[in-house]
């Protein structure tokens, strides 16, 4: 089931022009990069949620846990905790990570689990045919908000910075080489890596023109400067028409969650002996 080109034979059902294609190939290429550096392919595990993005589990010929809506991060945390040797990647949608499973996203950053979280942020629910998400602009006319979305979006970058994420980046499905580079950096960062990918939805929210016009690549920014990262993250509020920076906003090396658990060497003592010892104290 492991294909040489990492793409399975599953029929691809993304819409023509979907931003997911770019993310798929960027992720595939970033994984190939890791493998070329000696990471065994079987040590890589992909966890996806539910939504268009999640089909990545079917399309990439690698270990995968196609989980449920909003829950990629706890699954990935469990996998990493079980075996810290594994490289664990979450692909999640904005509905997944910012709505249904927002708590897990914040806790993922807080714990600094060594996983890479790629958010396919198309700012719309695609698979359920076009409703607003936590990052849709104010007034977004979707099927559940025909009068326009009654709330402002939140800014996932400032949220992640506030939550303690040690790697906060943004890219876009409009820039495949940039995206490949950022995902590659995220995979190599030891700790919780967060990449918000502004992805266009060809069917329900195609804002290619906006991202092309307002987008620019960060340069001269010091990713170790937290204050500068916050300022840069606030430049665009996911709502108004200001410049949109792509690149690595913040990076900090910190101890990882799974390293803080003591690991017992494999024991030859049958648990029954330890159980008997425990019971002896209870007598």
């Amino acid at each position: 089931m492991q294909e040489k080109n990492l793409i399975t034979g599953a029929q691809n059902t993304w819409c023509p022009g979907c931003g997911n294609f770019t993310i798929q190939f960027a992720l595939r290429n970033a994984i190939r990069g890791l493998v070329s550096e000696g990471v065994p392919l079987e040590n890589i595990v992909l966890v996806t949620g539910i939504g268009c993005h999640a089909k990545m589990s079917d399309y990439l010929g690698i270990n995968s846990f196609y989980s449920i809506h909003g829950r990629t991060i706890p699954v990935a945390t469990g996998i990493k905790l079980a075996n810290p040797e594994l490289t664990v990647i979450c692909c999640a949608g904005d509905g997944d990570a910012y709505a249904e499973g927002l708590d897990h996203l914040i806790f993922g950053a807080k714990r600094n689990t060594d996983i890479t979280v790629v958010i396919h942020n198309n700012r719309v629910y695609g698979l359920t045919t076009g409703q607003y998400t936590p990052t849709s602009p104010f007034g977004f006319r979707g099927k559940s908000t025909p009068q326009g979305a009654p709330e402002e979006p939140f800014n996932p970058l400032t949220l992640m910075l506030a939550s303690g994420a040690g790697f906060v980046a943004r890219s876009t499905s409009r820039k495949m080489p940039h995206l490949t580079g950022i995902i590659g950096q995220a995979l190599r960062h030891k700790g919780f890596s967060f990449v918000d990918v502004l992805q266009i939805c060809a069917s329900y929210f195609n804002v290619s023109e906006l991202y092309d016009r307002q987008g620019y690549e960060l340069s001269g920014h010091d990713p170790s400067d937290f204050t500068a990262a916050c300022r840069k993250a606030e430049e665009w509020d996911y709502n108004t028409d200001s410049p949109i920076a792509f690149g690595l906003f913040y990076q900090e090396a910190k101890p990882c969650f799974e390293e803080r658990f003591s690991r017992h060497p494999v024991s030859n003592v049958h648990p029954e002996e330890q159980i008997r010892a425990f019971l002896e104290k209870k007598r």
Partner: protein
């Protein structure tokens, strides 16, 4: 036959549970079988708490309403429990806090003289109790040295002063020389899971299984065990499934409210065939209900939890020994058959402390999981005769291990094709039959005192020991299905054959086991319910049975 009950009451924060447990240990050293019931409200400091420590010469697991000794650390303990005292009960009280009849102990003055913290007041009370009941001081010394090993000398000095502060009243004789381990149900479940090879335990605190989390978090120092307390029960379940996918035998623990949040993950476990064990400690519902009291109201919930149809294991142990044995079995079978399993307990079992019969801790083998073939052709959902696919974990060379919440093919790739969906549904049905085959090899239905009994009590879970005790007095038999899914229909039908009157005893209103039996063509004649969140006492169940039979 000696049968003694000691009620210890005080304010929350006084360490009443510890006091009750120390008294149980005194009885244990005197050769008695013991049972400790702990009754407490949902608060941290100040409210009224009490324990009933019972000691008898035969196995017990229920409290009595007629206590022979009252140890009162608060005025409420005297005022609220008059109806729980026998006519000539021995009353000892903390004279600094309580006014009443009986012998007073100047606890505060003793602690002050010894410059000891308030928490050591328990030792004073224990000492006084030993004197009043004629238990030799060397027994007190043994218990304190074993159970409070950190600062035994000071506790012993205080216990000695308590001992000297009162007069002997009614003597409790030594009845044997054997001591049992005293463990609560949570500990028995935890030890059973460890016996079954538990690698990881994930839980969010919730009464009555919080103490299982605490116990295993402590055990993680000695056992190769990972214990995690995540942000909520949704994360608990999904993190556990991640651990399980990567090869760790994992369990989670909760109560009904937490299990509500876990059900989406429970269904995922069923559909994606990721093994998991859920320890479900019932408490009084619905909703928040009575957080620190008991109930048997979630049987139908766990039998039906999760969308879709998938096989599951539900076991309801009724004693500490069964909790140990069946927790181990549940974990092994969940892994062998790749299904979710529920250990259905309740506050009474989880937080009750019992004399553990080590001879009854024999776990039957459940055989090894299916052997995988070569990794090059590995398919996570390979079709097999019994519906159970070989289980492998990443990293597996030359293989991609794909699990999937969607309907999927043998490789774990999403499919909507009608024929594959049907084949996978049939695979899960075959797996359900294989699981039933495994269950049928085990003694899933226990019977007690059935020789010639025309009337039998039908019970499940923690009511077992109150039922067996009361049934003995009435000459009734007792029938206890331990496994509730897959339902052991044949074993239960064999057990009820010849019974004229079958009386179900359940701590719920609807008669959940009664209804389940009816589905399987087993008629229950009478249903004895319990609606107040308190476990049956021996006297209460006796009276209820007298009314109906």
């Amino acid at each position: 036959m000696y049968d003694i009950s000691v009620l210890t009451g005080g304010r929350a924060g006084d360490g009443i549970n510890s006091a009750g447990l120390l008294i149980a240990h005194l009885f244990n050293q005197m050769g008695y079988q013991t049972y400790l019931y702990f009754d407490y409200p949902s608060l941290i400091k100040g409210g009224h708490n009490f324990t009933i420590t019972r000691a008898a010469e035969q196995k017990i697991g229920a409290h009595r309403d007629q206590c022979d000794y009252l140890l009162a650390l608060s005025q409420d303990s005297v005022d609220l429990h008059r109806h729980l005292l026998s006519d000539n009960a021995v009353i000892l009280f903390d004279s600094g806090r309580v006014h009443g009849q009986g012998q007073g102990i100047p606890v505060e003055a003793i602690l002050k003289a010894e410059q000891a913290p308030t928490v050591m007041g328990n030792s004073c009370i224990i000492g006084a109790f030993a004197k009043a009941s004629g238990i030799p001081f060397d027994v007190v010394e043994t218990v304190i040295r074993r159970q409070i090993p950190k600062v035994p000398e000071k506790n012993l000095a205080i216990a000695r002063k308590g001992y000297e502060a009162v007069l002997e009243e009614r003597v409790i004789p030594r009845v044997g020389t054997t001591c049992c381990p005293l463990v609560n149900g949570n500990e028995a479940i935890g030890l059973g899971l460890l016996h079954g090879g538990l690698d990881a335990y994930v839980a969010y605190p919730m009464t009555p299984t919080s103490n299982l989390l605490h116990f295993l978090a402590g055990a993680a120092r000695d056992f190769p065990l990972t214990v995690v307390h995540p942000e909520n029960e949704i994360a608990v379940m999904l993190m556990a499934l991640g651990l399980s996918y990567a090869g760790k035998k994992t369990a989670v623990g909760t109560s009904g409210g937490g299990f509500c949040l876990m059900t989406e993950g429970f269904s995922l476990a069923g559909g994606a065939e990721v093994p998991i064990v859920v320890v479900m400690g019932q408490r009084t519902g619905p909703s928040t209900g009575l957080p620190t009291y008991t109930g048997q109201t979630d049987l139908r919930f766990v039998l039906h939890a999760g969308q879709g149809e998938f096989p599951r294991i539900v076991v309801a142990p009724g004693s500490s020994e069964q909790a140990y044995v069946w927790s181990s079995i549940a974990l092994s079978l969940a892994w062998k058959c790749q299904v979710p399993a529920v250990i259905l307990a309740d506050k009474t079992l989880c937080e009750g402390t019992y004399s553990l019969d080590e001879k009854a801790m024999i776990v039957p083998g459940t055989g090894d999981p299916a052997k995988p073939g070569s990794s090059r052709s590995y398919r996570r959902y390979e079709m097999t005769e019994n519906g159970i696919s070989p289980l492998q974990f990443p990293p597996l060379r030359d293989a991609a291990i794909k699990v999937n919440s969607y309907a999927h093919d043998e490789d774990g790739i999403t499919t909507e094709k009608a024929d594959i969906v049907r084949l996978m549904t049939e695979k899960r049905k075959r797996k359900a039959q294989a699981l039933k085959g495994e269950i049928d090899l085990l003694e899933c239905v226990k019977t007690y005192g059935m020789g010639g009994a025309r009337t039998a009590l039908l019970c499940w879970g923690s009511t077992l020991l109150v039922c067996t005790e009361v049934a003995r007095r009435y000459g009734f038999g007792v029938i206890q299905p331990i496994v509730l899914s897959p339902f052991p229909e044949e074993q239960l039908k064999a057990a009820v054959a010849g019974v004229r009157i079958l009386i179900a005893v359940e701590e719920n209103a609807d008669g959940q086991l009664t209804l389940l039996c009816r589905q399987h063509g087993i008629a229950v004649d009478i249903h004895v319910d319990k609606l107040d969140g308190r476990p049956f006492s021996v006297e209460e169940l006796g009276a209820r049975l007298k009314e109906v039979s």
